[in-house]
């Protein structure tokens, strides 16, 4: 039985479609009980139903995912663009002020601060766009947050110490903190991209109709075949027996129907065909059919020939064996 509210969470139009296309379990039960289809075909039908159900469930999940991913993409693209603008702005500023080693520290801090932040934001934006759902999405998100915070810390640390304290080992610390943050963000992007690629492949495999052993025509042919197999050997008619309940007829029979006997017509007839039919069916009659005679003769000759050849090959085999033993 399909669970209650199994189509919940999708638009009404889609729900109507799913409910309309679904197959009721009693229908499947009737198919199985009445043996309308052969076992292999029943399996195929059940496969199809299960497959359609799975596909629908998958589609509902997919629609929910689409809604979530829309939000993710919105934020992700916004952050990505902000990062890009910051980075471009920083480069533009550097060109504008002709930035070099002797430039004013505030110009250097502004330029590298914006550039570093911009790069972090850009990577964060990409991370948000391709971030994964649970369970491994959780770790991915933790790495993303940690990487972003680390890179921002590096930038802040740089901005704080550049003017007065830009010496060893502070420079190394700043470089390490920022670089590790950027590495985490980049690595996370790569990891998510790989996972996305694998998922896409699985989805394509699922969408490709692998359970396509029986088409609708095949099932119709199976039904016809099964019906033909149900024909009685004696009569060639369907062996299915239709039982009838005792009917409660609302008819009131007329007087003649109840009382007067049925008129009968007697015709002189010895019905000698009964004996003839028995003889014909039991094969006691002589058939004068040149075609059948000829076919019988040909069959007999072919069978004799085949027996002779078989005997011949048997004697040949014996001779060969005898010779080999003698040798």
């Amino acid at each position: 039985m399909l669970p209650d509210d199994w189509t919940a969470g999708v638009p009404n139009t889609q729900r109507y479609k799913y409910l309309g296309n679904s197959v009721s379990p009693p229908f499947v039960q009737v198919i199985v009980e009445r043996k309308i289809l052969s076992q292999s075909c029943i399996n195929s039908v059940i496969d199809r139903i299960v497959y359609s159900y799975a596909k629908t469930i998958y589609y509902i999940k997919y629609l929910k995912d689409v809604m979530e991913s829309k939000i993710r993409y919105y934020f992700g693209s916004m952050v990505f663009l902000s990062g890009l603008v910051l980075s471009i702005g920083a480069i533009g500023f550097a060109i504008m002020v002709h930035l070099n080693r002797t430039s004013d520290p505030s110009e250097i801090i502004t330029t590298y601060g914006f550039l570093g932040t911009g790069l972090s934001f850009t990577l964060l934006g990409i991370n948000l766009m391709i971030s994964q759902r649970r369970p491994y999405g959780l770790y991915s998100n933790l790495v993303m947050i940690f990487g972003f915070l680390s890179s921002i810390c590096g930038v802040v640390f740089f901005a704080t110490i550049y003017s007065n304290n830009w010496v060893y080992p502070n420079v190394s610390y700043v470089a390490f903190v920022y670089a590790s943050g950027i590495c985490l963000l980049s690595g996370n992007v790569f990891g998510n991209a790989v996972v996305k690629l694998i998922e896409e492949r699985s989805r394509l495999l699922l969408e490709t109709d692998t359970i396509n052993q029986y088409s609708i025509e095949d099932i119709e042919k199976e039904v016809e075949k099964t019906l033909n197999e149900s024909l009685s050997n004696d009569s060639g008619f369907s062996a299915f027996s239709l039982d009838m309940k005792e009917d409660i007829s609302s008819f009131v029979l007329g007087k003649a129907l109840k009382e007067s006997p049925q008129n009968k017509i007697e015709v002189k007839d010895s019905i000698r065909e009964v004996e003839c039919l028995q003889n014909t069916i039991s094969g006691k009659i002589k058939v004068t059919d040149s075609g059948i005679d000829l076919t019988s003769k040909m069959l007999s000759a072919t069978m004799k020939q085949s027996v002779l050849e078989q005997n011949k090959s048997l004697s040949d085999k014996l001779k060969t064996k005898f010779n080999s033993i003698r040798r």
């Binding site: 004696d234 009569s235 060639g236 008619f237 369907s238 299915f240 027996s241 239709l242 039982d243 009838m244 009917d247 007829s249 609302s250 008819f251 009131v252 029979l253 007329g254 007087k255 003649a256 129907l257 007067s260 049925q262 008129n263 009968k264 017509i265 007697e266 015709v267 002189k268 007839d269 010895s270 019905i271 000698r272 065909e273 009964v274 003839c276 039919l277 028995q278 014909t280 069916i281 009659i285 058939v287 004068t288 059919d289 040149s290 075609g291 059948i292």
Partner: protein
């Protein structure tokens, strides 16, 4: 005693062995007419021994009388069957067929009495499926206590008419709703099919061509029509001859087409024609002529009409019921022989080896 039952679109006929060398046929028209009920009408029907049923304030007159009343009152009769099978358009079809079958078949003398029921073969020119019809009719007879078997209408004609030819030949039953054809070799069907056209088709075509009521056309066809007359232009008889000829041509064309699909044995195939719609005077001559012109892919030796036309001038529609009876009696004899053999086998003394 075994019985044969022919459930036709126009008539339901049962056949059983009569006293001495005779066959006893019971026949009822498969039709009814609805009338308003009333004390006077019911008294009249009762005194005239007319078969009817009453439901609420309506009366259904059954059988042959329904036709007579329809002509008198100019009312259309209702038919439980259409095109050879139970009519899906008639809501009272099954109760009416049940009543008629009970009437003509009667109760079995003993439980499990054999009855062979003729059913149409699958049509080649229509999507009609005969399975539901066959199984319903079988169930109705079974309910009366009979041991039922089904037989193709065409094969029943072969059994009835082609005994002299070792049951080899073509059996054609031109009925009201359908035409059934079976090509049999030594009582074994090679091809069995039906055509969804018969006497009713002729009536409909003539009725729509001439504007005369269907029931009137049926009455003229059955009583006042022969092929060897000169017809007036615009007459019903002329239209009947025209459509009869069209039906015969259509039957032969389908037979030719079906025979080309199989490889019948190299033997002589006589043709036996039976069924209510073949009883028109001159039908056989036209049929024979069309057969000779058709150049069928088998060797046709003769065209044979129903035996009762020659011997007893009775209706050729009995042929199918007779064929069904022959099948039933054959089965009954075979079962009897089997029972006797089993009994003898059981009674055989068991030899005990002496030590």
């Amino acid at each position: 005693m075994a019985k044969g039952l022919d459930v036709g679109t126009m008539n339901i006929i049962s056949a059983e062995k009569g006293k001495g060398d005779s066959i006893s046929f019971s026949q009822q028209r498969n039709a009814f007419l609805e009338m308003e009920a009333g004390d006077l009408a019911q008294n009249m029907l009762d005194s005239a021994k007319i078969l009817y049923t009453q439901k609420g304030n309506m009366i259904n007159v059954l059988g042959e009388d329904a036709f007579k009343f329809s002509n008198v009152f100019n009312k259309s009769i209702r038919r439980p069957m259409k095109q050879g099978i139970i009519s899906p358009d008639e809501k009272e079809s099954i109760p009416m067929i049940k009543l008629i079958i009970e009437r003509v078949l009667g109760k079995p003398e003993k439980e499990g009495e054999i009855v062979y029921i003729s059913v149409p073969a699958s049509p080649v020119d229509s999507k009609i499926n005969v399975l539901y019809h066959s199984k319903t009719i079988e169930a109705l007879a079974k309910r009366l206590g009979y041991q039922t078997s089904l037989i193709d209408e065409g094969l029943a004609v072969v059994f009835s008419e082609l005994g002299d030819f070792n049951f080899t030949g073509i059996g054609i039953s031109v009925g009201a709703g359908m035409t059934n054809i079976t090509v049999a070799y030594l009582a074994t069907p090679i091809v069995s099919f039906s055509i969804a056209r018969g006497g009713d088709w002729i009536d409909e075509q003539v009725s729509s061509a001439t504007g005369v009521a269907n029931e009137r056309i049926t009455a003229i066809k059955e009583s006042d029509f022969s092929f060897d007359s000169n017809y007036e232009i615009g007459s019903v008889q002329g239209a009947l001859a025209l459509y009869y000829d069209a039906l015969i041509t259509y039957i032969i064309a389908n037979l030719k087409s079906k025979l080309s699909e199989v490889a019948p044995p190299d033997a002589e195939f006589p043709i036996a024609v039976a069924g209510g719609s073949s009883r028109a005077k001159g039908f056989m001559e036209v049929f024979e002529k069309r057969i000779s012109e058709a150049n069928l892919p088998i060797n046709i030796s003769t065209v044979k009409k129903n035996r009762y036309v020659l011997s007893d001038s009775k209706d050729p529609i009995y042929s199918i019921a007779r064929g069904s009876l022959i099948a039933a009696l054959t089965k009954e004899d075979a079962e009897f022989v089997e029972t006797v053999e089993d009994k003898l086998e059981k009674e055989k003394p068991v030899k005990v080896a002496s030590v």
